[in-house]
């Protein structure tokens, strides 16, 4: 057995939460193993994304961790404990599980769905209902409004939020997520991904996340395992290093074109210097707005409310037709708004569609921080590229013979 590139072994500082040892799955009647002797360490508190083309065995690999699929051979070690032959029902109650089509129980209310695992573990009713409310709040759903509803009364995005809440039910140490945002429209998916990352920054679970979408992998993963047929690891590393130093041609092909665009997913709005824009507040008069606008290089001013939240874009045209209305009643509402946590890719997406070719950045309370325009993004891409090239060079210099291909 050739050595598998396993970057986690180099990070002895965090403890290993999940260790897969020589894990193999051979389905009856198939000549090839779906998963062939996979060895993988997953560190505590990290999101590890298993990504690869369809049929590479990534879902099978994930489902062997909670033994929805029983491994043919090999061992699964969860937090130091060999669980390969433990009672699977008890094992699964310790592992959160989120699947693509949500799998919510349609005949149970949202509250009952979320309460599934706590009830299985025999919590008393009071504790269960408190936990349900806590979890629904965590996924941005008002418990009073949604607790009593049925799944079919929710949109796809809301159903998946409930799916996540249900998986977190009894505060499991590990979560498995099988393309959780795959069946959701792109706009909602983006938002759910962001919400999930925020949630993860609070709960710090060890998460195994399966997707076939490399962009999602780059966005969500602390570490990415790119898998080839038979669940062989082509590269297991951080998103940054996978993008800048792909281990072999398979990885390079899988990342595909547009690696610099993908790198926009690696940087956040908070990492770059924001631009400024001319602003007035709703308390200001139309004259003030007019004079601000006429001395401005832009065709519109941004109107902030008294708390500093952007409320309107106002142009000279709007000011002419103001007819005694206040500034927040004219012009158009700002559409392109992101938080500092958003990736530069998010900012670019917003920018492309935005009216005044800028994305407005607000803090968590929605207060105006600054703007991002094309020049700033361009600058960010160029500086990342030069950093990447420098890193790649030092990489080769450091160990030029380290790229032995995994068979």
């Amino acid at each position: 057995m050739s050595h598998t590139p396993n970057a986690a072994s180099g990070h002895a500082d965090a403890s290993v939460m999940i260790r897969l040892e020589e894990l193999t799955k051979r389905f009856p009647g198939q000549s090839r193993s779906a998963v062939e002797s996979l060895t993988l360490d997953i560190l505590e508190g990290e999101i590890v994304v298993l990504v690869g083309p369809s049929g590479c065995g990534k879902t099978t690999t994930m489902k062997m961790i909670n033994r929805i699929i029983e491994p043919s051979s090999g061992r699964i070690i969860l937090n130091g404990e060999d669980v390969t032959s433990k009672n699977p029902d008890h094992l699964r109650r310790r592992i959160g599980y989120v699947i693509q089509q949500t799998g919510l129980f349609p005949h149970m209310t949202i509250g009952e769905n979320v309460a599934t695992v706590p009830k299985l573990l025999g919590w008393d009713a009071k504790r269960v209902s408190a936990r349900v409310d806590e979890l629904l709040t965590m996924v941005n759903m008002d418990p009073a409004e949604y607790r009593g509803r049925y799944p079919k009364q929710l949109s796809g995005g809301q159903q998946q939020r409930v799916g996540v809440a249900r998986a977190l039910g009894a505060d499991p140490e590990v979560m498995l997520m099988d393309e959780p945002f795959g069946a959701i429209d792109p706009i909602t998916r983006d938002r759910l991904q962001n919400e999930f990352l925020r949630l993860q920054s609070e709960v710090r679970k060890t998460i195994v996340f399966v997707t076939h979408d490399i962009d999602e992998a780059i966005k969500m993963g602390d570490r990415i395992a790119i898998l080839q047929e038979g669940s062989r690891i082509a590269q297991y590393d951080t998103p940054e290093r996978i993008l800048t130093a792909p281990a072999n041609d398979f990885v390079k092909d899988f990342i595909g074109a547009g690696a610099s665009l993908k790198r926009l997913n690696l940087s956040r709005v908070r990492d770059i210097e924001l631009g400024t824009w001319d602003t007035v507040t709703t308390a200001d008069s139309a004259e003030t707005a007019h004079s601000t606008l006429s001395s401005s290089e832009y065709s519109a001013v941004l109107v902030l409310d008294t708390d500093g939240r952007p409320v309107r874009w106002v142009t000279a045209d709007d000011l002419r037709r103001i007819d005694g209305r206040s500034l927040d009643q004219i012009g158009s509402a700002p559409q392109a708004v992101v938080e500092p946590r958003a990736t530069l890719s998010d900012a670019l997406n917003e920018l492309v569609a935005a009216r005044y070719a800028v994305t407005v950045v607000v803090d968590e309370q929605g207060r105006y921080l600054g703007v991002i325009d094309f020049d700033q993004l361009n600058e960010a891409i160029r500086s990342m590229r030069s950093t990447a090239v420098a890193e790649a060079r030092s990489e080769f210099a450091a160990h030029d013979s380290s790229q032995e291909g995994p068979s």
Binding site: R92, Q101, L104, P106, H107, T116, V117, Y150, I187, V337
Partner: protein, 264 residues
């Protein structure tokens, strides 16, 4: 737009369907059927009253005979349906488990063949070959005939349960038994009930035949009319059977509405 994550869920751009499950049937809808059936019965009663009955007709068309026949018929239907349920639902559950995959087609084949044999033939067979007559023999005949719709509906009902729901259940740590009792069966209830409803109506109809093996029911009246060539008696017997079938179907419909799990 990737709006700030703090955007409250209530202001979601996502489509939120707030309407609850559609009302199953309106009140007038619930009342129409009993009203029509009541009127039909009243019409029959008035017509029979207005006629001068001869002694043969009077022997069948009196309250005592009719009520006895009706009561017998309801008993036959109720007991045979109950027995059918007790056999078919567990059998349906067994036949949808993976370990029975091999024998599944044979059992269904045998039952389908049994259903293809006319009930009357089964009844005659029981009577001639085993000298088995009366109420219990009637139940055997009726049950053999009604098993298939309930069994097939149970199986279809269990098989149409969303694979993802069951996988999620297993992933949460439900045991196989809990997956069956908490997810599969409740979610199959609407389809199973539809099968029960079919079986009930079939049983009301075929129960008219068991008069030939001396098991009572409304068949008594029809056959009395046939053998004495009294058309009115035949008609009343048949009409009462039809009214009973419609009434049973109506009640089963209400039961379906009430027993269907909420949220489906």
């Amino acid at each position: 737009m990737s709006a700030p994550a703090t955007a409250a869920s209530t202001t979601d751009a996502e489509v939120v369907q707030t309407q609850s499950a559609p009302p199953r049937r309106s009140w007038p809808g619930y009342l129409t059927m009993p009203l029509i059936l009541g009127l039909v019965c009243l019409g029959m009663f008035l017509y029979v009253q207005s006629r001068e009955l001869d002694s043969i007709e009077a022997r069948s068309l009196n309250a005592r005979t009719i009520l006895t026949a009706l009561q017998g018929h309801v008993m036959l239907t109720a007991v045979s349906t109950l027995v059918t349920l007790v056999i078919s639902v567990p059998l349906g559950v067994l036949l949808t488990r993976s370990f029975t995959r091999v024998i599944r087609p044979y059992i269904i084949g045998v039952l389908t063949v049994l259903q293809a044999v006319p009930t009357i033939a089964i009844l005659v067979l029981l009577a001639v070959a085993f000298l088995f007559l009366g109420f219990q023999a009637a139940i055997v005949g009726l049950v053999l005939y009604a098993i298939i719709p309930v069994l097939l509906n149970t199986m279809v009902g269990l098989e149409q349960v969303d694979e993802n729901v069951m996988e999620a259940g297993r992933g949460m740590g439900f045991s196989r038994w809990q997956v069956l009792t908490k997810l599969e069966v409740p979610l199959a209830v609407p389809v199973i009930l539809a099968g029960v409803r079919t079986a009930l109506v079939i049983n009301v109809g075929t129960a008219t035949l068991v008069t030939y093996i001396d098991a009572g029911g409304l068949g008594d009246i029809i056959v009395a009319g046939l053998s004495t060539n009294r058309i009115l008696v035949q008609l009343i017997g048949a009409a009462l059977t039809a009214v009973l079938a419609l009434l049973v179907d109506y009640i089963a419909g209400i039961a379906e509405d009430l027993l269907r799990p909420k949220g489906l």
